[in-house]
């Protein structure tokens, strides 16, 4: 019988995870649009504003999108299978969110004597859970495609199922090699193992131990998340919109969000498996705790400097923009400059007054946790960006190319990688 505080902590962690994912969603959408724009020499979204003042470089657009999608007419076409039609987006979103349960986002949190592991469910099958749950996504796409009673949607669903099943094998083989290396299927064990150093200076990250596995896993992940260059299930030039063609309003929004959720989860899994998860390179949890004072001082100084830099830059922009737009949008840079100046003053003030180099052990532990969570989020965001970056760089595969790549090139390579890894592990540890 778990005591009530355990339950509350679990709920708290779930809430934190959800907040992080759902909070990152609009940022991802923004990054996708803005990144695509800059890659293509455009300026991207910059119109929507709050109060005619704050445009935040287009960050308001996802918000506007939400309003748009919520208030759009909800159309259920004639001839759909109503039950599965409504079930499909729910499956998509649920699967996308529940994968996150086993991903550790930090080492244990010390609260007095209590040690709280920073992951929602410390399952002993960790990575298998992820593989199992994420393969359920295919139900969402197939059901959506089939129940829509639309040829394009149906084709999209078919493509999605074939593609996901094909690439799941490669993904599984890549992960299997990784499990051999770490000797555990528990994700947290893997992350902890990645805290070591190879030959004393290289972090023993998965990518270093399993470079081929990493490439295979990453490619398979792109295919699993239906992201470009593997976005054939929703190839708009061929299938209009693919499996979610007949969805509108919030149900479409669910598919849309699920895609980004999958992306974030994928990024989190990659960083956990191959890039040390919450591990700060060269610094173990103990190391972090011992050097907390110095690190905090350094980060505060850097933060202050960056804030000042932003403030001056924005102020210059404010001066330059004056009189060009002819309305309240001109104020934005000025106000933001003041905000950043305030932040700089706050961090700088704390640096001078708060003696950050001399903090207690409890605070040190908390600082270490914050650093690790920050590290995890940073890595996740970076890999999410990789998803976007790749999408706006590569063209889409043809379907036969996709299948050939999966079965004729990646599968043998994955098997080879697995056998070589197994042999290596056998000879070194055996």
């Amino acid at each position: 019988m778990p005591d009530i505080t355990e339950l509350l902590w679990a709920l708290g962690k779930i809430g934190f995870m959800l907040a992080v994912i759902l909070g990152t969603l609009p940022v991802m959408i923004w990054a996708e649009r803005k990144g695509a724009a800059y890659i293509q020499d455009r300026s991207g979204p910059n119109r929507a504003s709050i109060g005619g003042v704050f445009r935040l470089g287009g960050l308001i657009h996802p918000l506007a999108d939400v309003f748009k999608l919520v208030f759009k007419e909800e159309i259920v076409p004639a001839g759909v299978n109503v039950f599965f039609y409504h079930l499909a987006p729910i499956i998509m979103m649920t699967v996308a969110l529940s994968t996150f349960a086993v991903i550790p986002f930090g080492d244990v949190l010390l609260l007095g004597t209590r040690e709280i592991p920073l992951l929602v469910a410390n399952l002993n099958v960790g990575i298998l859970y992820i593989l199992a749950i994420s393969s359920l996504t295919v139900y969402g796409t197939v059901l959506a495609g089939w129940s829509s009673n639309n040829k394009f949607a149906f084709l999209g669903g078919l493509r999605a199922s074939a593609q996901m099943i094909s690439y799941e094998i490669n993904m599984g083989l890549a992960v299997l090699a990784l499990i051999l290396v770490y000797g555990s299927v528990r994700l947290n064990d893997m992350v902890v193992a990645q805290g070591d150093l190879l030959w004393g200076f290289i972090p023993a990250w998965g990518v270093v131990l399993q470079p081929v596995g990493f490439v295979l896993f990453l490619v398979a992940l792109f295919a699993e998340t239906n992201r470009n260059p593997f976005d054939l299930p929703e190839g708009e030039s061929e299938l209009v919109a693919g499996y979610h063609l007949e969805y509108s309003s919030l149900k479409f929004a669910l598919f849309f969000m699920a895609e980004y959720c999958n992306m974030i989860v994928g990024a989190a899994v990659v960083s956990t498996l191959y890039f040390g998860g919450w591990q700060v390179p060269w610094l173990t949890t103990e190391g972090l705790r011992e050097n907390a004072g110095t690190l905090l001082t350094v980060s505060l100084s850097v933060g202050t400097l960056l804030n000042l830099l932003f403030a001056t830059g924005l102020w210059r922009k404010f001066q330059g923009e004056r009189g060009t737009l002819g309305d309240r949008r001109e104020l934005e840079s000025g106000i933001l400059a003041v905000v950043f100046l305030g932040l700089a003053l706050a961090t700088g003030g704390y640096l001078l007054v708060g003696k950050p180099w001399d903090i207690g052990p409890a605070a040190s532990a908390h600082f270490a946790t914050v650093m690790q969570i920050g590290q995890f989020i940073t890595k996740t965001l970076l890999f999410s960006w990789v998803f976007i970056w790749v999408r706006w760089t590569l063209p889409r595969f043809r379907y036969d190319q996709l299948m050939r790549l999966g079965w004729q090139y990646m599968l043998p390579l994955a098997l080879l990688n697995f056998v070589v890894t197994a042999a290596f592990v056998l000879f070194t540890h055996g």
Partner: protein, 173 residues
């Protein structure tokens, strides 16, 4: 490095057809592509002013005097239309968007003048042939107005009064 869609190899897929070995590995090429896009991104982030995008409603493009904008009818010195309703413009018009009704004019030096001169701006393709055809330089497309939008069709059916005074602002209200 011939690539033939009819060749048996091409038909079976064309994976790596006509590529060098290091190109057919893809990964290096993908990285090159990624760096190209990243180069663009970084350049654009740090040199936003150099982007060719025009912040359209705030900044207006300068199309120069050769832009064929919304039509206008020229006036005589006394303010009456210069048009003599010869209907050359409506004859040449490929979109059939000009309709003119002519009338006898009582003035001694003017024999014929338009009673009505209507242009359906929704039909107009802005080819400028009417301007070329006009023997009296009565119709021009030099207003520079290219923002022609409205929320009802009637606003696009412009008449002689409108065209005679059509120099600046947007839509007929």
């Amino acid at each position: 490095m011939g690539y033939s869609v009819h060749g048996p190899k091409a038909r079976t897929g064309g994976q790596g057809q006509g590529l060098l070995p290091k190109e057919s590995l893809y990964l290096i090429e993908i990285c090159k592509g990624l760096f190209i896009t990243m180069r663009h991104l970084v350049r654009n982030v740090f040199h936003m002013g150099d982007m060719p995008t025009l912040q359209y409603p705030d900044e207006k493009p300068d199309y120069g005097p050769w832009l064929r904008g919304r039509h206008r009818l020229m006036k005589r010195e006394d303010g009456s239309p210069r048009c003599v309703a010869c209907q050359m413009c409506s004859t040449i018009c490929p979109a059939d968007c000009i309709s003119i009704m002519a009338m006898d004019d009582d003035r001694p030096d003017v024999e014929k003048s338009p009673e009505t001169f209507d242009i359906d701006l929704l039909r107009c393709v802005y080819c400028g042939l009417c301007v070329e055809a006009c023997p009296c330089d009565a119709i021009r497309m030099d207003t520079g107005i290219f923002e022609i939008a409205a929320d009802n069709r009637a606003a696009f059916q412009v008449d002689m009064d409108f065209l005679l005074n059509n120099t600046t602002d947007g839509v007929k209200s």
